[in-house]
């Protein structure tokens, strides 16, 4: 999957997983900073104005987004490790092993 990248075996710095993870992190930030979109009382929920329940709702939703970013990056990192291990027989640190 990384055959087209210049250094054999290494994944490009900008991979689809990283971009997607970045978007996952960006969405909740943009949503809550856009205050005019939720500075209103209606529709209320169980007596609670929109302003309050909407922001409270975004707490768990943001956690879902962050979790998705975590899972995406974990897979991406595993792929990178596998790629660099597969392409180079020596471990990541060239001088590792001999010192200390």
């Amino acid at each position: 999957m990384s055959s087209q990248s210049p250094s054999a075996g290494a994944l490009p710095a900008v991979s689809p997983a990283r971009v997607l993870a970045g978007l996952c992190l960006l969405v909740p930030i943009v949503v809550v900073l856009w205050v005019p979109s939720y500075a209103k009382a209606e529709p209320s929920l169980g007596g609670m104005p929109f302003f309050y329940w909407y922001q409270l709702m975004w707490v768990p939703v943001s956690a879902v987004f962050t979790t998705s970013a975590y899972l995406l990056l974990r897979r991406d990192e595993a792929a990178r490790r596998a790629a660099s291990a597969g392409s180079a027989p020596v471990p990541a640190q060239p001088d590792g092993g001999e010192q200390s």
């Binding site: 500075a39 309050y52 975590y70």
Partner: protein, 539 residues
């Protein structure tokens, strides 16, 4: 003196005794072989897994003062006080990209504090000590505010108030004496262990509160009606004290305060300490995904401010101290024994962050002032000894702050501390991604941000205080009212960019960077991490 609620008092004391015993026993929890190393006392051996880190960071970031101040702000001003919710929503995605890199590079090079990293990255003692001193300065009033949190609880319990000064403050002396003693002996392990009790208590109390209190008050609809009534424009044409929905003119302030505070949150030394104590990079990431559980609690807690309005805790007193709104609400609504549990949650909730903050400040002093400038040949054992003593001094300082200066001074200083700590963000965050910035430019940017923030804050008065009465002022160019910390941060960044361009053109010496690109993505188990130097050998 007011009537003392003995049932509540007994329950409160019982929990206090339990956590004290736990604090001392923590020294033996996950005991290490080289207990003399600062990373043992000051970072709990850098070995906390996902759940311990979750409890520790939760206990650390959501302080007793938060429990008092957030609902107090909602009680007094309505919607504006709710900014704590977007603030904590933004914080985790924002630092998700930043903190794992800080963890990795700190692990590879054995850094204990953020200033250690700045020192290693830029080879600049000046920038490093600026970051360290800002951290210490911002943390001290924060520790003091934890005392204010305990005081609020004790005052509603019937202690304090009138009477002679010694008896009035005696419970505070005892609480902090005990806290100081077990922090001294157990280091970061003490708050980590006590955090389990604290957070369990907090979850139970808040869940009960947001279900039980609305039932007694006639539901959320009635609660918000009461709040709407309070914030309705008064008949005499004077300005209302707040609003139920954020007004158009205040939206910039709401958003900039949330964003600036979120960025500042993880610049605080105590947050960094909690993060660096995690055992792996992915432990840190997982925590960014699960810490919002606490934010949900905080959001529900904020609603208690409206419940306090509906319950009429002020009893018509126009000068009622909003800080007492939640303790008074608990005392009015709950049976005595559960009031004791709720107050224990706040009291223990003060001890955990106070311990971590004093440890973090002590680490900064030891590593970046004492070892850097006073005694470069200090051994690891020396460092640990100095840090332990420094942690005591921080707490004594905080206690003196609360007792000698008034409570308002602590609140003002803490607001200012948030503005200040944000000014370390440019050097720290930029440094984790690029070495483009010049160290002198970053130092100049920091100085400009600090000066701007302090000057602006000095000029803000409020009903309670002549200076440092708030943290919002007009943003130059934009013309909107916004958080001065964030405006200072923007100025800081502009100065750093411009001066970097100038200094690079002049070929000013850049300083040595002891880190390499791979250090920033190192994970536990990697060779670089396994062979990481002990903290004191880092430089």
């Amino acid at each position: 003196m007011k009537h003392v609620d003995w049932t509540a008092m007994t329950v409160f004391l019982l929990f206090f005794v339990v956590v004290t015993v736990m604090g001392f026993m923590a020294a033996r929890w996950r005991k290490a072989d080289d207990a003399q190393h600062l990373h043992e006392w000051g970072l709990g051996g850098r070995n906390f897994g996902t759940w311990v880190t979750w409890f520790l960071l939760g206990g650390d970031l959501y302080t007793a003062y938060t429990f008092i101040a957030v609902p107090a702000a909602v009680y007094a001003t309505g919607a504006a006080g709710f900014f704590a919710v977007p603030y904590t929503i933004i914080a985790y995605p924002l630092v998700f990209l930043i903190l794992p890199r800080l963890w990795s590079v700190s692990r590879v090079h054995g850094y204990v504090t953020p200033a250690d990293f700045v020192r290693g990255r830029y080879g600049s003692r000046g920038l490093s000590v600026a970051v360290a001193l800002t951290g210490i300065l911002a943390t001290m009033p924060y520790v003091a505010l934890q005392l204010v949190g305990i005081q609020a609880v004790l005052s509603v319990l019937g202690l304090g108030g009138s009477g002679n000064w010694f008896l009035q403050d005696l419970p505070l002396f005892v609480a902090f004496g005990v806290l100081a003693a077990y922090t001294y002996s157990s280091g970061l392990r003490a708050p980590a262990l006590i955090a389990f009790v604290k957070d369990t208590l907090v979850y139970v109390v808040i869940l009960v509160a947001v279900i039980y209190i609305p039932m007694r008050l006639g539901g959320y609809g009635h609660i918000f009606d009461a709040a709407a009534h309070k914030f309705a424009p008064p008949a005499d044409g004077s300005k209302p004290t707040g609003s139920l929905i954020i007004a158009t003119a205040s939206q910039w302030q709401y958003a900039t305060l949330a964003f600036g505070s979120a960025l500042a949150l993880f610049m605080y030394p105590h947050s960094v300490t909690g993060v660096l104590a995690a055992k792996s990079r992915n432990t840190v990431r997982r925590n960014m995904a699960i810490l919002p559980t606490y934010s949900l609690m905080l959001g529900l807690l904020a609603l208690l401010g409206f419940m306090a309005i509906a319950a009429g805790v002020s009893r018509g007193d126009k000068k009622f101290n909003a800080q007492l709104a939640v303790p008074q609400l608990f005392a009015d609504m709950f049976p005595s024994w559960f009031t004791g549990v709720a107050f224990a949650a706040i009291g223990v909730g003060a001890l955990v962050p106070a311990a971590i903050m004093s440890i973090a400040a002590a680490n900064l002093f030891t590593r970046n002032v004492y070892k850097e400038f006073l005694k470069p040949e200090a051994t690891p054992a020396d460092e640990t000894r100095v840090a332990k003593i420094a942690s005591l001094l921080v707490k004594v300082g905080a206690l003196a702050f609360v007792l000698v200066m008034d409570k308002q001074a602590a609140i003002n200083m803490q607001l200012l501390g948030g503005v200040w700590i944000l000014q370390t963000a440019v050097a720290l965050v930029a440094g984790l991604f690029t070495r483009w910035f010049h160290r002198w430019a970053l130092l100049a940017g920091w100085a400009v941000g600090m000066a701007y923030g302090t000057w602006k804050a000095y000029g803000i008065s409020s009903a309670a205080t002549k200076h440092f009465g708030g943290s919002a002022a007009e943003i130059p160019v934009l013309g909107q009212v916004g958080y001065i910390g964030l405006t200072g941060f923007a100025l800081n960044l502009v100065v750093a960019v411009v001066l970097t361009l100038v200094l690079r053109a002049l070929k000013a010496p850049e300083g040595t960077d002891e880190t390499s690109k791979a250090d920033y993505s190192a994970e536990a188990g990697d060779e670089a991490v396994e062979q990481a130097p002990q903290p004191t050998l880092a430089h």
